[in-house]
């Protein structure tokens, strides 16, 4: 029995995440901030979309920050997009926002004068980009360098390079997946990344760290 709690704090499209998890075989998906359900779930998904300040404020007011800290080291957690950024200590967004501080590190802005080989790159970084993997069970069956769907203007810079589990390039090399122990977090949207994304979600459901 796989019971997944998609942590709901009112930010972003949770329907997509829930539908994709069901599609790859999750028997029960709760989209919830109810601590009782979160406690009963075998694994957690921490999504996130929109501004970091609003995400963090909503996480605090819905008690999601507590739920994440309690779940650490007890059950697998998948962070997605701002749900990845929130794991770090600090973000530059909105004039500076404190994260959940699970890992030391900073979330940085790509900047509006992003250039590569003399041509300007658009921000947000939006679309399908390659992810170069570090060995991890969640990449199983996904060719190295597969493209995933990204949409973000800020990227994670963990203090500990060993935390990085995947990297991508957009004018700069940036960390597009990170984690340790029971945590795996990605900057892209696996629920919107066609076959590669569904495979990653399926691997998450079958992951026993």
């Amino acid at each position: 029995m796989t019971r997944v709690a998609v942590l709901d704090y009112g930010m972003g499209n949770l329907h997509s995440v829930a539908k994709a998890l069901e599609h790859v075989g999750a028997q029960t998906v709760w989209v919830t901030h109810d601590p009782a359900l979160i406690a009963r779930a075998d694994r957690l998904v921490l999504p996130g979309q929109g501004a970091m300040r609003d995400c963090m404020a909503a996480m605090h007011s819905e008690g999601i920050d507590e739920a994440v800290h309690q779940a650490l080291n007890t059950k697998p957690l998948l962070g997605i997009c701002v749900g990845m950024q929130a794991l770090l200590s600090h973000s530059e967004e909105n004039g500076g926002v404190a994260g959940l501080d699970v890992y030391p590190g900073e979330v940085r802005f790509f900047g509006y004068d992003l250039q590569e080989n003399g041509s300007r790159l658009k921000v947000p970084h939006m679309g399908w980009n390659e992810v170069w993997q570090q060995s991890h069970p969640l990449w199983q069956g996904i060719p190295n360098g597969s493209r995933f769907y990204f949409v973000h203007s800020y990227y994670c810079v963990p203090d500990t390079p060993e935390l990085s589990l995947g990297s991508s390039h957009y004018a700069v090399d940036f960390c597009s997946a990170l984690g340790r122990d029971q945590i795996f977090a990605v900057q892209f949207h696996p629920e919107k990344s066609a076959r590669a994304g569904l495979k990653l979600l399926s691997n998450f459901l079958n992951w026993h760290p």
Binding site: G12, K19, P124, M126, W128, P143, Y149, H189, S193, A194
Partner: protein, 256 residues
């Protein structure tokens, strides 16, 4: 550069059926939107755009239901546009499973709408849709009501203002080119793409695969939107991607 250019098939949907207007007028039935979206996903579409051209009040429930069914079966980004006038319309579409919404006339009739929507939902899910017609040398104006009503607003200035207000992407349609199959308005596309810091989707006028390449290479677009060339089986999306790849463009080629 490793970010791929995107191919976005567009489904024009009227009362739950995919149709495509030629110059926004004649309508041909091309089928069930969920079935077509699933086919697009399987063929490697990078995103899918769903334009609700019914946009009547009673049509909203049908639209939400179609979006719900689509989002349960299609796992690439889904943009929905057409008749979005209120913050609640956006919320309902996102809750139904849309990843982005495209705002068109409401941005003109309510000048603070995009800003308010971006504050609520974030720039990543807000697309500003611009329908423009050429009105002079290197000058394009915004038109509403399917191209019938001039607004006097300069298209390039509007694109800059809306993206500063928080729109995360521009869907740019040339009303002159739309339906002609003679290619995108490349000068318009380039003028807007070079003026804004967010990605621009070229739309209107695609008749063959070279037009897609022109939109990306000469129009400086980040993504190309096309409807009829894919729906009526003229070209497959895979064929288009391989064609663009052979022209030196970075594409997502792995099949989904």
């Amino acid at each position: 550069m490793t970010l791929a250019k995107r191919i976005i098939p567009c489904l024009d949907v009227d009362r739950g059926r995919v149709v495509k207007g030629v110059r926004f007028l004649d309508i041909k039935d091309a089928g069930d939107p969920v079935e077509i979206a699933r086919r697009c996903d399987a063929e490697g579409a990078d995103e899918i755009t769903f334009l609700d051209i019914t946009a009547s009040h009673e049509g909203r429930e049908t639209t939400l239901d179609t979006v719900r069914r689509m989002a349960s079966e299609v796992f690439v980004p889904l943009t929905v546009g057409g008749g979005i006038r209120r913050i609640e319309d956006i919320r309902a579409l996102l809750n139904a499973g849309a990843d982005k919404v495209s705002i068109n006339s409401a941005a003109i009739s309510q000048p603070d709408f995009v800003k308010a929507a971006a504050d609520h939902f974030g720039a990543q899910c807000l697309v500003i849709a611009i329908d423009a017609k050429q009105v002079g040398p290197s000058r394009w104006e915004i038109f509403t009501h399917g191209g019938r009503k001039a607004t006097g607003i300069d298209a390039v200035e509007w694109a800059v203002r809306m993206t500063e207000d928080g729109a995360g992407e521009v869907l740019l349609t040339s009303m002159d080119a739309d339906g002609t199959q003679a290619g995108y308005d490349l000068a318009l596309t380039r003028a807007v793409a070079d003026a804004v810091h967010v990605p621009v989707i070229a739309s209107g006028g695609v008749g063959n695969l070279q037009h897609l390449a022109d939109g990306l290479l000469q129009g400086h677009a980040d993504a190309v939107l096309a409807a009829s060339i894919f729906h009526f089986g003229q070209y497959s999306i895979q064929q288009a991607k391989h064609f663009l790849h052979d022209q030196g463009l970075v594409m997502r080629l792995e099949e989904s």
